[in-house]
Subunit: 341 residues, 4 copies
C-alpha cells in the first residue's frame, strides 16, 4: 500500500536519528537551556536575519497555537482567522479552552484578504455595541494554508499594514513552512516572514523531525514570563534537548530546506501526472498537498492501492481527496502512484 | 425626547417597587432560600405545568447564558447557536471565557432551522477528523430571537426531535419571553416550552423587573452542585430575596403576562402606523421590537425627537433602525411617536 | 426570633427604596452610563479625595473579586491572600475558575503581615525553580477582614511598601468597608485607602443597599476594555441605574457613614454586655461582627431565641459563634438580645 | 563534572534509540493508533493485570496531570493533594489554568495520610457553608513522592477506602513509578496500583524514555471523548508512534524494571556511603532520590566537582541538597561521587 495520506507518517530524517543517538548519553540540563537548543536558536536567528528573535521549542502545532495565542491576547480579545483556519476548525476548541474566541473572516483557498480583514476591524469599531462584542486582538494566518496555498509577499505586506494600523500582532502558523519556502511559486522568504510577522513558528513535526515547532518572537515582544506560561500549558519538555538537537540538525547544512525541496519536487511530479491524466484539481496548490476532485467510484478504486486523505464531499457523486508528499517521499513511490493514477 | 431605543430603560413595574418596599425590613435568609423565592418558584412550576421543574434566579441574561451553558456542556463540547444569536455575537466572549466554543449555523431572521441543525450534526459525525473538532453538546435558541421573531410550535418540535435524536439538551433564552408568549401571532405556550426544552429562562430584566432571570431546568436535569457553580461564576446574590420578591410579584395575578401584553399592543399600534405610512420593514416581527429600513436622512430627522435603536447599516444610504416597546410604554408616547413618524 | 446571624438579612435603607421609587419611571440609558451612576461616581471620587479614580458598579462581592483579579493579573500570575481570605476559602473557586491560583500566606485574625508577605515574595524569587511556580501578581486584603478585624494605617503602609517594592498591585475587599471606617478603633480613612491601594471596593450589599459594590481604580490603572471584561464575566447590569441610584443615595448626606455607625454602636452595646456577662471572646473585633466561644449547651439554649452565625467548632464541647449587627439593627433588638444573653 | 542533579539529564535507553531508528521509515498512522502504540498498551494491560485498562500516551508529567485532572473533575470540584505535591507547587498553576482549585492537606515527607484526608472531607461536608467552598472531587498522590518516599500497600488501601466512601477517584502520579516499584523497601506492585487507583500514569520521561507518560484508566472510567480533550489541551502527538515505540520497548523483556533497578542499586550505594561518612539525611528515601543536610561550606566545596539538586534552605548555615540517580547512572560515576563525598 502506497502512503500519500499525510506528511507526518514517517519518523524523522535519518540525520536527526543519528544525531539523537550520538548525543544520547550526554548529560544535559533540562527545560531547553542545553547547548543544542542554544545552537539551534542561533542558527534560526541567522536564517531569519533577525538577531533580536526570541525562540522557544514546543512539541506540536495545536500546542504552539494555543500557547502563543493565549499569551499574546488580552483577556477581552479574540484572534482573527480564516473560517477554514486550523485554529478555527481542527483543534478541538483548544483556543476557546484558553478563554478566547476565534473570530472568523472568509478563507479564500485558505487565505485571508487584507481588505476583508480591515473591513472586519472597521465594522467592529463602528458598531455602537462593540464593547459587547469580542475585540480583535491579533491575526492568525497559516503559510502554507490548510489548502496548501501561499501568500505572496504583497499579500503579506498588505495584511501587515492592516495589522500595524490597528496595532494587532500578526501570527503565522508555519507547521508546513519548509514546503512553503521551497515552493517553485513563491516570492516569500524566511527573513520576510520575520519582518512581516510579530511571531511565527517553523514546523518540525511535518518537516523531518519526530516532533517540534520553533516559535519565533521577532520584535522583542515575547510575552512576559513566557517560560512559565509554557509550563502552565503543560507544554514544557523536561528534556528540551529533544527539540534542540532536532532543530539544530535541521538547520545544519540546509537540511530543512533540502528535505522540503524533496517534498515539492515529488509533489510537482504528481501534479503534472494528475494534470496529464485529466484529473480535476480542487484548487491550485503550489506546495506539497494536492487536492483533486474524483468520482466516488474512482476513489474506491484508488483506495485499494494507495492511502490518501479524504478531504470533503464535493457532491453526491464526487469527493475531494488529497495527496500529500513529505521530506520522506521517494521517487520510487511517486512513480508507483503515477502508474496507479 | 421619546424613548423607544430598548426595553430596559425604565425601572420596574410599580407593583414590584411596592412589594420591595413592603417586605423591606423583614429579616430573611440569604442566597435564595427565602420564602418569597420559594413562593415564586412554586408559581412558575404551576404556570409551566412542570411540577419537577428546578428553578434558580440569576441576575442577567449573559450571566444566565454563560452559567447554564458552562454547567451543562462537557469540557470537550460546544454550544450550537444561530450565527446571529446573542451568545454568538453580543456577550463579549462570555461563553468562550468559560472554555467553550460557540458553534454557529445560519440564522434566518434570528431563528435556526431544524434541518440545518441536523445536517450540521450529521456532518460532524461523518467527518473522519471529528475528534479534532468541537463536539456539539447542546443547542441554544432565543425566543423571541434578537430580531423579535418567534418559533412556531412545529418548529420547536422539529428542533426538539433533532436534539432528542442526538441527545443534545435544548436551551431556550427567554430574555423577552413574555413578549413572545403574548404575541398575537404565536401558538407557543409556557407549558410547551417546558416540555420541549431541557432548560430555559424567563426574562425579568426586560419584562418589568429591576433585574433577574428565572432559569428553569425542566427534566430533573439540574447540573450537580448548581448552587456552587452559580457562586463560582460570581452569580449568586446574597440577598436572593431581591429576585424572589420580584418574580413572586410578576407571577401574581398574571402581572407578567398583562404587562407583556401592553408591550405587544403598543408595538402593534406602531407597526400599523409604520405600514400605513409606507415604511419598509426589515423583517416581519410579531413581538415588541420593530425593525424598519430608513434613509439616512430620515434617520437623522427622527433622531431629533425620538431615541431608537441603530441596528445595522443597510446600504450606503439606508439604515436598519429598531423601535422597541416594553411593559412601561404608554399609549401617550406611542401616539406622539406616530405623529412624528 | 431575633436576627443577628449576618449583615445582609434586611432589604435596603428606606431612603434607597424611596429613591428607587421616585426615579422608577424615568427612561435612562443602560449599562451604567446613566446620570445617577455618574453622580454617584463623582461623590465617591470626592470622598476618596481621588479625582483620578475610575469607578464601576458590580453586583456582589465574589463577582467584584473575580472580575477585578482576573483582569489585573497576567496569565502566569496568582493573587496573594490570607489563607482565611474570602477569595481563598468562600468563593467556590471563583478565582481559580478564571485560571488563577490563590497563593496563601498565614492569616492572623484574618490579616496578613507585611513581613511575611515580603518573605513569601523573596522566597519565590530566590527559588531556583520559580519559573515552575505561580508568580505572585497582586495582593488581596479585606478590611474589615472576615473576622471583623482592621488594619492600622501603619500596617497598610507597610503592606503598600512591600507591594511597591515588587510592583504588585494592592487590592482591598471592602465588602464591609463602612463598618471598618466607622469603628471606634481605627485610624484608617477612605482617602488613605485610595492612596494606599491600587484598587478596592466599597461594599453596598452589606451596608444598606439591595446589592452592589463600587469598584474603585485609584491610579489611572483601570484594565484596558474593563467594560468588555465586566460583560464577559456576566457581570454587566443592563439597568445600571439600579446600582447607580443606590450608591448615589448612600453617598448623599453621609448616609453610608451614618448607617455604618449604627451597626458599630449596636455592636459595642453587645460587646460590652458579653464582656460583663463573662463571655469569652474568640478575638477582639472592633467592627460589627463579634465572635465568642460558648459551650455547646449554651449554644443550643441561645438558638431557641436568636439566630446567630455558627462559625467553627472550637473543641468537642465548645463552639465559636458570631453575632453580626448591621445598618438595620435596632436598639430594641439589641436590648432583647442582651436580656437573653 | 559529575551529574547527580536530576533523573532526566540523559537521552533515552539505547534500546529505545535503536528501536526508533529501526522503525523510522515505516509509514504509520498518526495520533496514537499505530501498531506500536497498540502493542505497548497490550503489554501494559498485562503487566497491570488489568484487561479493562484504557491507556493514552502523553508527553510529560504536568501535561498528564492537568489533562487528567481537568477531564475527571466536575466544574465545581477541586483536586485534593499534599501541600508539597507537584500539582500544588511546581506546575506553574497548570491545574488552576484549567479552572480548578488544588485543595491541600499536609504532606508528611510528601505523602498524605488517609485519616487527615477523611477529616478534610468530613469537615467540608459538615461546614454549613460548604456550597460556597470548592467541593473535593478527586485525590492526587504521587508514588514515589516528590521526596522519594513511598506509600505502603496498607496506606494505599486506607486512602482507597476513604476515596471509595466519598466516591472520589484516586489518581496516582507515577512520574518515577519504576523507581518506586523497584525499591528494596516496598510491598506495592503495579497490579496493586491498578486495583487501588482509578487512574495513574507510568512515567517514561524520568525512566528511560526521551519523553512520554502512559496514562492508565483502570475502571472503564475514561472520560468521554478523552481523545478530543487531549487534543484540546494541545497534548496530542501527531506522531503517536514516538511514545508508542518507546513504551513498547520499555515493556519488552522487562527493560523498564531492569533500568529502574539500576537507579535503585546506584542510590543504595550512595546512601550507604553517605551514612558511613556521617551525612545527616533530611528524610529516609527508599528510592532514587537522596536528600541530605549539609553545611553551606560543604555544599560549596561539593559544587566544584558534582552537580546536585539544591532542594531548600535548612537554616542559615545549612542546606538540603539532593542526589538523584537514574536508569543512566553508572557504577563508575557513583564510585567517583563516593570518593568526592
Amino acid at each position: 500500500m502506497l502512503s500519500f495520506e499525510c506528511d507526518y507518517n514517517a519518523g524523522a530524517h535519518e540525520r536527526i536519528i543519528k544525531r539523537l543517538a550520538e548525543t544520547n548519553m550526554e548529560k544535559l540540563p533540562g527545560y531547553g537551556v542545553d547547548k543544542y537548543s542554544e545552537s539551534a536558536k542561533e542558527k534560526i536567528k541567522d536564517l531569519c536575519k533577525c538577531p533580536d528573535a526570541d525562540i522557544y521549542f514546543l512539541v506540536g502545532g495545536t500546542q504552539a497555537n494555543e500557547t502563543v495565542i493565549a499569551s499574546v491576547l488580552g483577556n477581552y480579545e479574540g484572534v482573527l482567522a480564516a473560517d477554514t483556519g486550523h485554529v478555527s476548525v481542527h483543534e478541538a476548541g483548544a483556543i476557546e479552552y484558553t478563554g478566547h474566541k476565534v473570530l472568523t473572516i472568509p478563507g479564500h483557498d485558505g487565505k485571508i484578504d487584507a481588505g476583508e480583514l480591515k473591513q472586519y476591524i472597521v465594522d467592529y469599531y463602528d458598531d455602537a455595541n462593540h464593547e459587547h462584542m469580542v475585540c480583535p486582538g491579533m491575526v492568525y494566518i497559516s503559510h502554507p494554508t490548510e489548502y496548501g496555498t501561499l501568500y505572496t509577499e504583497k499579500e503579506l505586506q498588505d495584511i501587515t499594514a492592516v495589522c500595524g494600523e490597528y496595532d494587532l500582532p500578526l501570527f503565522l502558523d508555519g507547521a508546513r513552512l519548509g514546503y512553503g519556502l521551497m515552493s517553485r511559486h513563491t516570492d516569500v522568504t524566511l527573513p520576510m516572514i520575520s519582518r512581516y510577522c510579530d511571531m511565527f513558528y517553523i514546523g518540525g513535526t511535518k518537516v523531518g523531525a519526530l516532533m517540534g515547532e520553533a516559535v519565533v518572537f521577532t520584535k522583542k515582544n515575547t510575552p512576559k514570563h513566557f517560560g512559565s506560561i509554557v509550563k502552565q500549558h503543560g507544554a514544557l519538555l523536561a528534556k528540551g534537548r529533544l527539540t534542540g538537537i532536532q532543530f539544530d540538525e535541521l538547520f545544519t547544512d540546509d537540511l530543512y530546506f533540502k528535505i522540503s525541496k524533496n517534498a515539492i519536487d515529488m509533489a510537482e511530479l504528481i501534479k503534472n501526472a494528475l494534470r496529464e491524466k485529466g484529473y480535476v484539481f480542487y484548487l491550485d496548490s503550489p506546495t506539497n498537498q494536492q487536492f483533486v476532485i474524483v468520482s466516488n467510484d474512482k476513489m474506491h478504486e484508488l483506495e485499494k492501492d494507495v492511502s490518501f486523505g479524504f478531504w470533503e464531499k464535493y457532491d453526491d457523486d464526487h469527493t475531494v481527496i488529497r495527496f500529500a508528499t513529505s521530506w520522506a517521499t521517494t521517487k520510487e513511490d511517486v512513480d508507483k502512484l503515477i502508474d496507479i493514477l
